[in-house]
């Protein structure tokens, strides 16, 4: 369960505070795969980051006893001069994994990412697709209560996308996802409930379809 209590998030600008969220109170029940919708700049990623504990409300508080992944598909957390293998080891060490577990993670990521000999090359020689594959595989290896996914389901070629989706579906059997996406098909497929961010307000829908309908509604030219 995730509980938001009177959460506001704003950024100071020349013209005063620019609110992304304004006094939002909301309870997200357990065992719900949540899709987050909203226009560009509505604060979807900010909300996602706050739920994951890597950004913080300006006012109010967020409570949860669950564990959260880092934003999935994150390639920025890699050190360019280190190899793929070294980067995988680094993330495992942060999470306090034993050498045995680290080896398992390496095997898994190496198999999943299909980047061959590049696995032992510095990350800076990777294409962006290769980086995403590595990062995606790494996120899938770890166990969290919630996976945080920020628009990264469209990496790689069709073949790889299918593989990624299959693995993700297996993963969802065991954990929940918080997903930001503009792809309605993906949201319908993976999420149960949805929230819509619009003009600083948050609307919660028990059914993702209702959220999508509402989102389509606000995007209609008036």
């Amino acid at each position: 369960m995730i509980e938001l209590r009177h959460v506001s998030k704003y950024y100071p600008t020349d013209k005063g505070r620019k609110y992304v969220l304004e006094n939002v109170s909301l309870t997200i029940p357990d065992d719900v795969n949540l899709g987050i919708l909203g226009r560009n700049g509505a604060g979807k990623s900010t909300l996602l980051r706050m739920l994951g504990g890597i950004d913080f409300p300006s006012e109010g508080s967020i409570h949860s006893n669950n564990s959260f992944s880092w934003p999935m598909g994150l390639a920025g957390g890699f050190q360019g001069s280190m190899t793929g293998r070294q980067n995988v080891k680094f993330v495992c060490r942060i999470y306090g994994k034993s050498p045995g577990e680290i080896q398992k993670a390496i095997d898994y990521v190496q198999e999943f990412s299909e980047i061959g000999a590049y696995f032992d090359q510095p990350i800076k020689s990777y294409s962006s697709g290769m980086k995403s594959r590595l990062s995606f595989g790494l996120s899938l290896y770890f166990d969290f209560d919630y996976l945080i996914i920020d628009e990264t389901l469209s990496v790689g070629d069709a073949n790889f996308q299918n593989k990624a989706k299959t693995r993700l579906r297996e993963k969802i059997e065991r954990c929940n996802i918080l997903l930001v996406s503009h792809a309605m098909a993906v949201l319908k497929e993976l999420c149960d409930a949805g929230i819509l961010l619009h003009e600083g307000k948050v609307y919660y829908y028990d059914d993702i379809k209702d959220a999508i309908t509402a989102y389509t509604e606000i995007n209609k030219p008036s």
């Binding site: 959260f68 050190q79 070294q86």
Partner: protein
């Protein structure tokens, strides 16, 4: 499928050691010449000033091998400088890692300080090797006091580095100012001369520089013919703990902002 619960200290130590290994790998990876650069600064200074001194050919420090005098001071000075610079850049260089919620800005700073301590230790060992090979007199008068002085200098550098890291996050020009100050500091930190050897008026001015006290404490305990009479321990104490506590306070107050910017 709950993740195993870990205490905050367990998380801290696994994060710091992961960051430490990461820094070492980037720094001393193949083709980087990291080992060479670790020695370079201090070695260059010793060669320049020992060379200059031999040109002038005056014998102002009887009983002391001048290169040893230079090396002991410069190694300490560069350790201070590298810790401060490393700490000051720790947050911005590792900002991407704050996406992993276990990684706190403070951890990146601690790991960088540890790396600098390791590098300085290696440089010192290399200098000792060189000193032995060329049969310099590297006997130490009071070894434990030298170690104490160096450890105290590490604490000073850590506190000042922490304070600077927070300031540099919020004031763009702060880091530049510190870096600009570091260069003249090389000449006014009693590295190529002793405080004793200076004229009275200059002596009084230079003693406002806290580094002078640390360097004099090292020199005075290293060489039998030198003393620590100009070292003001109270002054060193203030310079250690005011930045340290100010840094800790500012860090606590702004940790979330550092993570999210």
């Amino acid at each position: 499928m709950k993740a195993v619960h870990r205490s905050s200290f367990e998380i801290f130590s696994s994060v710091v050691s992961a960051l430490f290994l990461r820094e070492i790998q980037t720094r001393f990876g193949t083709k980087k010449g990291g080992y060479f650069w670790a020695l370079f600064d201090a070695m260059l200074m010793v060669l320049i000033f020992a060379g200059l001194k031999s040109l002038v050919a005056e014998k102002s420090m009887p009983g002391i091998d001048f290169p040893v005098f230079l090396a002991s001071g410069f190694l300490a000075f560069f350790m201070f400088k590298n810790i401060v610079n490393g700490a000051m850049g720790a947050f911005s260089a590792n900002a991407a890692l704050f996406n992993y919620r276990q990684v706190r800005p403070f951890d990146t700073l601690v790991s960088r300080v540890l790396v600098e301590i390791l590098v300085s230790t290696m440089a010192t060992l290399a200098f000792i090797g060189i000193g032995l090979y060329f049969e310099f007199n590297i006997a130490v008068k009071d070894f434990s006091m030298v170690i104490l002085a160096v450890a105290w200098l590490v604490l000073f550098a850590f506190g000042f580095g922490l304070f600077s890291a927070v300031m540099a996050t919020f004031f763009e020009n702060y880091a530049k100012i510190v870096q600009v100050i570091m260069t003249p500091l090389l000449f006014i930190s009693a590295l190529m001369y002793t405080v004793e050897s200076l004229p009275q008026a200059l002596r009084e001015v230079i003693l406002y520089n806290p580094l002078v006290h640390f360097i004099e404490m090292i020199h005075g305990n290293f060489f039998t013919t030198l003393t620590t009479e100009y070292v003001d321990y109270t002054y060193m104490f203030f310079w250690t703990f005011i930045p340290l506590f100010a840094g800790l306070y500012l860090y606590r107050a702004s940790e979330k902002r550092i993570i999210s910017t």
